[in-house]
């Protein structure tokens, strides 16, 4: 690990001043990803701005019926919160499938948005990685790609986003609230992460001097019947091969409202708009679910070792929607 300076901010204004004046600085939340990456020398900040003392740890109802989640809320607190469990069960379930209990006690909502890929070649300094060193190439292509993208990849990068929480937030039409010395900006969750294109080192639309202060969930009745299904290589403590965040409401046997997003398939949490379009208004049947999954996965392209993920995603979508229909939000 490279030596760094450490400053601790006690209010948002001080944190924003620090990030705008210190060169090559990073905010430190739970540190569950950043510190790992610093140990591997993938991240080498000169200054760490500790934001764990900022007063951003609340979860509160918004006047319009939504919920505001402070950026410093710990994952375990978020998952256990009554408002989240009752109104947005998929979010609570998604968080609980991630990492381990110890990590969830440390990890923050703001930090989880900025979690970086688990691509084996990103983590290995001896390998070529355009995300780590733009222009160096991508050793993942043609290598071990079990955990890699089937949607939205580019010739420069085939990595996936590892967060479970973000998949649920994308499905729920959440909004990320970001602040800088220039003011407050509100970024729709579906526009927060970006696909790699030619610049896989750019992962979000957050500016280097912006601080995530909150995530807002809209008032979304359909989310009360929602679930998160994570498919992985062992029962716990593994990243998703494919995950599905789904909310479903039916009326008279037809889909009256739906939200669907996929994890483990792209460099961003993948909102399944194509599938939602097929589903809305159609009969809530396996046949519809299959058609919806096919529509979403039509542009999927496999890497050398992950063709199975296209079929797995299709089955996971159908199975999750079917279970929502028959069993509701039961995890």
């Amino acid at each position: 690990m490279k030596a760094f300076s450490y400053v601790s901010a006690t209010d948002v204004a001080a944190a924003l001043r620090a990030i705008s004046t210190e060169p090559n600085a990073k905010f430190l939340g739970g540190g569950t990803n950043l510190v790992d990456l610093m140990r591997e020398e993938i991240e080498q900040p000169d200054t760490i701005i500790d934001i764990t003392r900022l007063p951003l740890s609340g979860i509160e109802e918004l006047p319009g019926g939504g919920v505001r989640i402070g950026a410093m809320v710990r994952n375990s607190h978020l998952a256990a919160h009554r408002l989240i469990r009752t109104r947005y069960p998929m979010l609570s379930q998604a968080v609980l499938t991630g990492a381990s209990a110890q990590l969830r006690n440390m990890a923050t909502v703001g930090g989880n948005l900025l979690q970086r890929t688990r691509c084996l070649y990103f983590y290995d300094g001896a390998a070529a990685c355009n995300k780590r060193e733009p222009g160096r190439g991508c050793d993942a292509i043609g290598g071990f790609t079990r955990n890699h993208a089937i949607l939205g990849a580019s010739e420069a990068c085939v990595a996936t986003h590892p967060s479970d929480m973000c998949v649920a937030l994308a499905a729920l039409d959440a909004t990320v609230v970001a602040e800088s010395v220039r003011g407050v900006r509100r970024i729709p969750m579906t526009e927060f992460h970006v696909l790699p294109g030619e610049t896989p080192d750019i992962e979000t639309t957050l500016a280097a001097d912006e601080l995530v202060t909150a995530v807002e969930l809209p008032d979304l009745p359909v989310a009360a019947t929602s679930a998160y299904r994570k498919v992985r290589d062992r029962a716990s403590y593994a990243f998703a091969l494919v995950s599905v965040a789904a909310a479903l409401e039916t009326s008279g046997g037809a889909v009256s409202a739906v939200r669907l997003a996929l994890g483990g398939v792209a460099a961003k949490p993948w909102r399944a708009y194509q599938a939602e379009q097929v589903l809305l208004g159609a009969p809530a049947t396996d046949e519809t679910f299959e058609r919806a999954a096919d529509a979403e996965l039509a542009p999927a392209v496999a890497q050398s070792q992950n063709a199975f993920k296209i079929e797995l995603a299709r089955r996971a979508i159908v199975a999750t929607l079917r279970r929502l229909l028959t069993e509701g939000s039961a995890a």
Binding site: R118, G142, G143, R234, A316
Partner: protein, 768 residues
């Protein structure tokens, strides 16, 4: 290292046996409170810290090393490379006359050569005042290479494998009759190919060494499975007498074979301490373990079975290909169990080897049988399917009376009993044979069985036992405690042999200054020590009786050992309650503080004589008997029909391990092996990039060992029948329970889904 004696509890009133009881391990409290000190925890006020720099090419020469930036890091004491390292002797050639020559993990003379033989080979070691400075500086060492052509793709190279030559310890192949002809003629047959991937060691404690020189003597704290190999290897490398090297290996945080050989970290810590004239500590990073400590070889295996319609086996063929490193590694006895498990008329087994430019393989829990049973026991299950027979019935149909390959006698063989008890405990009769026929809600349910088999070993062990006038006993033997409960088991054995309370016995181990103990390997440590310990206790009792029988005041006056038994903390006449006296009374009257007995000699001549005596006994024994632990593994899996996810939901294992010394630690050992078997079956795989030979998942996040959520409650039990040819009747329990485990799971997965997966691990994509 030692167990504090507890004197407060009164001695049991009668000669109640302590062997077999589920006694808490004597070091349990020290371990759970953190008081137990591991190799990286020995404090020296002036300790320095080391970090390794690893090669990033598979084969080549170091063209240049720029250590300027690393040396400039504040606190750095030395950057040691092949350009400035003192000369060390190369590892000795392997010889069966000098077993410690087997100790070298690789043949590379680290930092004494510019040659690189695998991606990950240490090419520099940085020593600094702090761990952080050492690790940072290590990352700044710039190494450039001239690369040379290399081969590292096992799948591509296995066709170039050559038959394994036989040696004193194992044979590369064997035949009985003409198995291929019998196979071709068999009315029912299967001919199958299996693959298993490379696996890496992931003991909780990464390999760690602390070394401190004092003149030309060095003390080395090293988590080891064979301290004596470490001692002899270091003595040779650094050109000093073995007596100048003291290796202390008090607690070892898991090993499983990974700490059997001497790997780079140990040698380079001692080197770094010599160069810097400071005590040096090196704890490998998890990545460092993957890059410098060998793991299990991958394998491809062919198992072909031919049978009559009634299930009688006429042909059994089992061949394998595994890999060695170009610079070391040993053959895995993949076909071992196939020589012993089934009474086939014709048998052909052959192991083949290919050498690659990779870190040499090493032993890992039940090397050979763990992956060999996967193939054989899966094939037996497939044959049962072809025959329309119950897989247990097929096994029992072919259960041999004598060792199938050569007609030797079995020292002990209770597989029938193991299956009978296992079937009952598991509820095998509730299984409906048709694949895919059992469900629980949406889950597909499958039940599978497989046989476990592991040969039993016994090594030489020197032991001293000292009995003090206060009635306490000290057992001294340089053995190894990697978590299996060795000190507890030996204290139980000594307590029974001498008739003293368990709490009166203290066991000293983990130090080469002690009488030479056996290595911890081949599941042989407990039996090896037990043999010597029981005989040392007999000697001791005779010495004590000699003191008593000469005394006119003793009720034991004139008695011989045959008429005397040890119980209640003393010697008493057999069948004459009360006629006898305590050890304390005998020693006090004789004016002795203590009496000591010794088995084996640690003098140079004594050690050689002991080794020769031991080897000849071993060879004689092997000619006469086939000795092994065995068992029946039963498992139930649930498979998600949508996603192919496999979850093990139930496990019953029944084992024939002879006499059980400690019911609690034995259960732990057996469960642990099954857990490792679950990992082998479902998730573990080292990813070696076939394009460059580099391990790409050197971390516990990406190399998937099972987590708690993957493991159901595991029912283990044993038949508890002593093996008459083994000391105290005990057979080792360390490895048998990983064998058969992966096959039981694969067979259960087939029963649940109708899918045969012959390539490990059984990941969900293979079931979609």
């Amino acid at each position: 290292m030692t167990q504090a004696p507890v004197h407060s509890r009164p001695a049991p009133a009668t000669a109640e046996r302590i062997v077999g009881k589920p006694i808490d391990r004597v070091d349990g409290r020290a371990k759970t409170t953190g008081a137990a000190r591991y190799s990286a925890e020995y404090p020296y006020p002036d300790i320095a810290h080391a970090a390794l720099v690893h090669a990033t090419v598979s084969r080549g020469r170091i063209a240049g090393i720029d250590a300027a930036a690393a040396s400039a890091v504040p606190g750095v004491l030395a950057v040691i490379t092949h350009l400035n390292a003192p000369a060390m002797k190369p590892p000795p050639p392997v010889s069966m006359m000098n077993l410690s020559s087997l100790a070298s993990g690789t043949t590379v003379n680290y930092l004494n050569t510019d040659e690189v033989h695998w991606d990950g080979q240490p090419v520099a070691v940085v020593v600094a005042e702090t761990l952080e400075a050492a690790q940072r500086a290590a990352s700044l060492v710039e190494v450039t290479y001239e690369t040379l052509p290399a081969t590292f793709d096992f799948a591509a190279e296995e066709k170039n494998a050559k038959p394994q030559k036989s040696d004193l310890v194992q044979s590369g192949g064997a035949t009985k009759g003409d198995a291929e002809a019998a196979l071709a003629a068999a009315p029912v047959s299967v001919d199958l190919r299996f693959t298993t991937p490379p696996h890496n060691h992931n003991a909780l404690e990464p390999h760690a060494t602390t070394a401190a020189w004092d003149g030309d003597r060095v003390t080395v704290y090293d988590g080891a499975q064979n301290m004596y190999w470490v001692r002899d290897n270091l003595a040779l490398k650094f050109g000093i007498p073995a007596a100048n090297v003291r290796v202390i290996s008090p607690y070892v945080g898991g090993a499983f074979g990974g700490k059997t050989m001497v790997w780079a970290g140990t040698i380079l810590t001692v080197l770094a301490a010599r160069v810097t004239a400071r005590p040096v500590r090196l704890m490998l990073t998890r990545e460092g373990v993957y890059r410098t400590v060998g793991g299990r070889t991958p394998s491809t295996q062919r198992v072909a079975l031919g049978a009559e319609a009634d299930g009688r086996l006429t042909a059994l063929v089992h061949t394998s290909v595994t890999r060695l490193g170009r610079v070391g590694g040993g053959p895995e006895q993949v076909t071992s169990q196939s020589r012993h498990l089934y009474d086939a008329e014709n048998i052909l087994v052959q192991q083949n080897l290919v050498k690659l430019d990779l870190l040499p393989n090493t032993v890992m829990r039940a090397p050979g049988e763990s992956i060999g049973t996967f193939a054989l026991e899966s094939a037996i299950d497939e044959l049962a399917g072809e025959l329309g027979m119950d897989p247990i019935a097929l096994r029992m149909r072919n259960e041999p009376e004598r060792n199938p390959i050569d007609g030797k006698r079995f020292a002990h063989r209770m597989l029938r009993e193991a299956y009978a008890r296992g079937a009952e405990r598991f509820g095998w009769s509730e299984r409906t044979p048709e694949p895919g026929s059992m469900r629980d809600g949406r889950w597909l349910v499958g039940m599978g069985v497989a046989s476990a088999y592991h040969p039993s070993w016994q090594f030489a062990a020197n032991v001293t036992v000292r009995l003090s006038a206060d009635g306490t006993v000290v057992v001294r033997c340089g053995f190894h405690e990697m978590g299996m409960g060795g000190a507890t088991a030996q204290a139980q054995i000594a307590a029974d042999a001498l008739g003293v309370p368990f709490e009166a016995v203290r066991v000293e181990y983990g130090d080469t200054a002690l009488p030479t103990g056996p290595g911890a390997g081949g599941s042989g440590q407990t039996a090896s020590i037990a043999a010597s310990l029981v005989s040392a206790c007999d000697k001791l009792k005779r010495s004590v009786l000699a003191l008593a029988r000469r005394s006119g005041d003793s009720p034991l006056r004139g008695q011989r050992m045959t008429g005397v038994e040890a119980r209640d903390g003393g010697l008493y006449r057999t069948g004459r309650p009360g006629l006898g006296e305590t050890y304390a009374a005998i020693l006090t009257r004789a004016g002795r503080d203590s009496v000591e007995a010794r088995v084996g000699s640690d003098t140079r001549v004594g050690a050689i004589a002991g080794q020769v005596r031991f080897m000849s006994k071993l060879m004689l024994d092997r000619r006469r008997w086939v000795k092994a632990a065995s068992g029946a593994q039963f498992c139930e899996v649930r498979v998600d029909p949508d996603t192919g996810e496999v979850r093990v939901s139930r496990w019953v294992g029944v084992f024939d391990v002879g006499t059980v010394i400690n019911a609690k630690t034995t259960a732990g050992q057996l469960r642990g092996g099954i857990v490792m078997g679950v990992g082998m079956a479902l998730s573990e795989e080292t990813l070696v990039d076939p394009r460059n030979g580099r391990i790409m998942n050197p971390s516990l996040a990406e190399y998937h060992v099972p987590v708690h959520a993957d493991i159901p409650s595991i029912d283990v039990s044993w038949l508890d029948e002593p093996d008459p040819t083994m000391p105290l009747g005990l057979i080792g329990v360390g490895e048998v329970s990983i064998t058969g485990a992966a096959a039981a799971i694969a067979n259960a997965v087939h029963h649940a889904t109708g899918r045969r997966v012959r390539d490990l691990p059984i990941t969900l994509d293979r079931l979609l």
